[in-house]
Amino acid sequence: MADIKQWRGLRALLEDAVEQGASAVERVHVATAKRPFEILKRLPPIGKWVEGIEAVHDTILAGAYGSVRVVNRVVGKALDVALDAFDDARDGDHPDDAAGAASPDTAKTPVSAKTPDDEAGP
């Protein structure tokens, strides 16, 4: 089973993936939407209107992707708090482990909770 450090790592990795994935998709979205706007803006009767619509479109787009990123960060922070609470509760249940002492069931203790010199031999 993964230990708490690894859960934290997984949380951070997923947060990074959502953040950067949202930004990458946003870039594609903006670039794709730009094409029809560029064509429509060249038409004299509607050019000015299209500029305004494009500005509104871009603002909504930035807001939508921005909110994905904000929610992602908030969820990340919430998970951090939950993991902290879980870690504290676990330390309360096993104060010896928290102090770094070897527990009797060393074989079942997660590897990262042991000092290197406690490692089992062959």
Binding site: M1, A2, D3, K5, Q6, R8, G9, L10, A12, L13, D16, A24, V25, R27, V28, A31, T32, P110, V111, T115, P116, D117, D118, E119, A120, G121, P122
Partner: protein, 317 residues
């Protein structure tokens, strides 16, 4: 830790390990020695506990990209290291590392680790035998390069090195990937650029496999290279030791074997043909073995491969 979790982390590290290390993510694997799936403390006490019957002959086994030391394991649980222990008295030491880091970074770390191992090992080491599988062989070569430059004394204990399916001249699959991502990135289309960006997320370690870049200066030119052919390798095989090369080949046809080899590493690359031709590798013919019918993964745990390793290890200097 469970084997599945270890394997998953190894794949993750192979794919984006450099990013994990750069962002201080705790999923990043740090280089350490392992025995029975557990890390061994690099201290006198830790080594003495892990190796109570420590032999003066030590085999260090370095795994390949996106895997752990479990890649060496036969179905019966033995591996090249444990067989060398039972039959020739070697103490096997398994290396685990973040295969997504640049090969040069892992090479530097391995050189430092071996330096400490020789100092802290329970008894004086007579022979240190590095055995590298796939990328592991390049990490070993990189470590030898850095150790030579810094005059590290552990090299004096190395008489030979064994490379199993190691792409000494690089891996064409990665070079092809490099060309495809460059072409996709050059097309002025947001979708193809997105695909190129995603493909470019592959780790520094994987990118280094393209031309077997062992040093920082070799990596520097990676962005400019677009050739699909084997590059001339600037780092020679260490002339002071013997090198034994093992290649797998799925085909018995020499042309197909040269092209595809074990599916990931062509025979010409695993046997360092170009390096030998250019005088960068002094390897005698008996020290090269090509085994037909072996894929890239199978070569890490094959009876014939072990017999060959054993035969070489039994030879006197």
């Amino acid at each position: 830790m469970g084997k599945k979790l270890d394997d998953t982390l190894a794949v993750l590290n192979g794919l984006v390990g450099d990013y994990l290390a750069r962002t201080d993510n705790s999923l990043a694997t740090s280089m350490s020695l392992y025995r029975n799936d557990r890390p061994v403390g690099l201290s006198r006490q830790g080594l003495a506990r892990a190796y109570p019957k420590a032999s003066a002959r030590v085999a260090v086994l370095a795994h390949g990209v996106a895997c752990t030391e479990s890649i060496w394991r036969f179905p019966d649980g033995s591996d090249y290291g444990s067989r060398l222990e039972h039959e020739l008295g070697f103490t096997p030491i398994y290396l685990r590392y973040n295969s997504g880091l640049a090969i040069a970074d892992n090479g530097r770390a391995l050189a430092e680790l071996l330096k400490q191992l020789v100092e802290l090992y329970p008894q004086p080491i007579e022979e240190l035998l590095p055995i590298g599988y796939s990328m592991g062989g390049l990490v070993v070569r990189s470590a030898c390069h850095f150790a030579t430059g810094q005059g590290q004394s552990w090299l004096e204990h190395v008489r030979r090195a064994i490379y199993v399916g190691t792409p000494h001249a690089g891996a064409p699959a990665e070079r092809l990937g490099r060309v495809v991502t460059r072409v996709l990135g050059a097309i002025p289309d947001p979708y193809t650029r997105l695909i190129a960006d995603v493909a470019n997320l592959r780790s520094a370690g994987v990118k280094d496999l393209g031309d077997a870049d062992l040093r920082d200066e070799d990596r520097a030119g990676q962005g400019k290279r677009l050739s699909l052919r084997d590059a001339s390798h600037p780092v020679p095989l260490l002339p002071s030791i013997r090198h034994h090369l093992i290649a797998g080949s799925l085909s018995t046809d020499p042309h197909l074997a040269a092209l595809f080899g074990d599916m990931l590493v062509p025979v010409t690359s695993a046997t360092a043909v170009k390096m030998r031709r250019e005088g960068n590798a002094e390897v005698a013919e008996p020290d090269v073995r090509v085994l037909p019918g072996l894929g890239h993964v199978d070569i890490a745990h094959d009876h014939d491969v072990y017999e060959q390793i054993k035969t070489w290890c039994e030879e006197q200097e």
